[in-house]
């Protein structure tokens, strides 16, 4: 058997292993080591397995994931999402569809301290959905909006998806973080447009909430103060080069913890639970990266990656056509696989193509994160939709998936805008040095 045949069989076996339900991280490592056994012999292959895994766990750049995940976990437990929502509710709640718009605004703000889409959807969902129910909002709009807004959590810095992409492609985490800001704002604006449009077509879908005075609106802005301070300190420190990414994450995690304690939102048990939650998420992500490293060695030795590159560069298509193919693959896989495995499996395969065609890696990162966010709400495996279903158990999953349709259109529109105007993603990174 030629190496490429072994590689292609390996991909087939991996897909089979995934579909019978073996945890993705372990399936990647197992198929990787078995493939290496065929290519380089058992002695060398078995030696690669623990070395690759140890080196990933031992990697200093990966400590940034651990620290930012911990920060998100403390933010989740310390009530920062609720305060963001309360502010958005007071400022925007009186508008038609105002509570849905407030959910989008709160998700954008909460995304500034929490890098996880599922945590953002869960936090905002727990607070916003009962409120929208109270004001007789349609279930489809309410749940669809919250599930979709979760994606803002991985677009607004700090973002676990950007960190993993940056680690895999050796791009600056700071530049990747800052690149997500404008696309996130555009996405939030397009979401708002979609909500307003839906309310204009059917005003009964989202009746206006209670009116508030200007004084109340101004006072409510204080609810964003801790989020803003944390964002300015951690991201400002990172963007200015004052902190390394790991230091920014540790300062953010420590700062969020202190805020939670000071506001009496985090007691001893809450602190331990939040730490354990952060730990298992970090463990899941690092195991995925370690598994993908073993599999990546197998792919490299089997020459599948280089053959894919040669095949794609030989296609009679313009670069945008190649980009469209890659996006289609990400979109289809995203319907079945969660964000992290999606990025960990596909980015190493496609990244050589990206560099060969001269695409900006930071811009491509934004596109990938947007596609990963779409994957969080598309059936059959839409993690954010499942999270919202967990919060609003009386709403059928079908209604949630129906509710996300206008927001999928909003994602596609944002993707098209970012593709057409790459400067949206690349302008801010060009201003920072780190």
């Amino acid at each position: 058997m030629t190496p490429i045949t072994v590689g292609l069989i390996g991909i087939g076996v991996l897909l089979l292993a995934l579909f019978i339900g073996i945890p993705i991280a372990f399936a990647l490592a197992l198929v990787g080591v078995l493939g290496l056994c065929l290519l380089v012999g058992p002695t060398a292959a078995l030696g690669i397995l623990p070395r690759d895994i140890f080196e990933e766990f031992y990697s200093y750049p990966l400590t940034v994931i651990t620290m930012f995940v911990l920060m998100g976990s403390y933010a989740f437990a310390s009530g920062m999402g609720k305060r963001s929502y309360d502010t958005s509710h007071t400022v925007l709640g009186h508008l038609p569809g105002g509570l849905a718009i407030a959910s989008v605004a709160a998700a954008t703000a909460f995304g500034a301290v929490c890098g996880s889409a599922a945590a953002t959807a869960a936090t905002i969902g727990k607070i916003a959905l009962p409120e929208m129910k109270h004001y007789n909002y349609g279930d489809t709009l309410a749940t669809g909006c919250v599930a979709s807004a979760g994606g803002l959590g991985i677009l607004v810095p700090p973002s676990s998806a950007f960190i993993v992409y940056g680690v895999l492609t050796e791009q600056s985490i700071g530049k990747l973080f800052v690149s997500g800001i404008f696309p996130a704002l555009i996405l939030a604006a397009v979401f708002t447009g979609a909500i307003v449009l839906a309310c204009l077509r059917n005003p009964a879908l989202a009746p206006p909430g209670a009116r508030t005075s200007w004084k109340e609106k101004v006072i409510s802005l204080a609810g964003l103060s801790d989020t803003l301070i944390l964002f300015v300190v951690t991201m400002g420190g990172l963007f200015s080069g004052w902190f390394s990414p790991t230091q920014a994450g540790a300062v953010g995690a420590g700062g969020t913890l202190l805020i939670g304690i000071a506001r009496r939102q985090l007691d001893w048990q809450g602190f331990l639970m939040a730490t354990k939650d952060g730990l298992v998420i970090a463990c899941m992500v690092l195991c995925l990266i370690a598994g993908a490293t073993v599999f990546g060695h197998f792919m490299a030795l089997s020459t599948v990656t280089t053959s894919l590159l040669q095949w794609m560069t030989g296609l009679p298509l313009p670069p945008i056509g190649i980009l469209a193919i890659m996006c289609a693959v990400f979109f289809i896989f995203g319907c079945f696989i969660d964000t992290m495995p999606l990025i960990v499996i596909l980015v190493p395969l496609f990244f050589p193509v990206v560099t060969a065609f001269g695409f900006d890696p930071i811009w491509f990162g934004v596109i990938i994160v947007l596609l990963a966010a779409v994957g969080l709400i598309t059936p059959p495996v839409g993690v954010s939709a499942f999270v919202v279903k967990g919060v609003a158990q009386e709403v059928p999953l079908e209604s949630i998936f129906k509710g996300v349709l206008p927001f999928i259109a909003a994602y596609v529109l944002t993707l098209a805008i970012v593709m057409a105007f790459p400067q949206i993603a690349t302008f801010l990174p060009s201003l920072i040095t780190y």
């Binding site: 993705i24 766990f57 463990c283």
Partner: protein, 164 residues
């Protein structure tokens, strides 16, 4: 009865390991905090910070693998399996547990060999000269609780199938 005891023991052991993991994680955060404050405010960074943080991450992550599995955090594609009839699903669960069990036997064994090789070669961190062998051996040892978790899952699938 034996299966219950095994399940309980695997959970208990994973619970002990996760406390080690939590300790490692909090130390990582604390030391990085001290380094930032020391460096930025007093010009006194923690010497050999990465030499401390990197082994701590190995300890934290490896010690948490079994607990993460118990919590269902290791991502799986269940879309296909969940649509299968209950019996077929049980068989599939048994097969996947057995395969993963095999993987962790392999990983534990090779991790032990790797740890010993680092120990023999006297590999250390560059600045503080912390030996890496014991860290790698700990990583290998962490496959014991995860092995027990998957063994319990496998035996549970067998028992379920045996009841039919």
């Amino acid at each position: 009865m034996m299966l219950d005891k095994l399940e309980k023991f695997s959970r208990l052991l994973s619970g002990w390991f996760v406390w080690i993991a939590v300790g490692g994680l909090l130390l990582m955060m604390l030391i990085t905090w001290v380094d930032v404050m020391g460096a930025k405010l007093f010009g006194w960074p923690v010497p050999g910070l990465t030499d401390i943080v990197r082994p701590l991450q190995v300890i934290a992550i490896a010690s948490a693998i079994a607990f993460a599995q118990i919590k269902g955090m290791h991502v799986q594609v269940l879309f296909f399996v969940e649509r299968l009839p209950k019996r077929v699903k049980t068989i599939f669960n048994g097969i996947t547990s057995l395969i993963t069990l095999g993987f962790f036997i392999l990983f534990g064994w090779q991790g032990y060999v790797y740890g010993l090789s680092l120990l023999t070669a006297g590999e250390t961190t560059p600045t503080l000269l912390i030996p890496l062998g014991p860290i790698a051996l700990w990583m290998a040892f962490c496959s014991v609780p995860i092995f027990l978790v998957f063994l319990a899952q496998f035996l549970s699938s067998l028992a379920e199938e045996g009841k039919r």
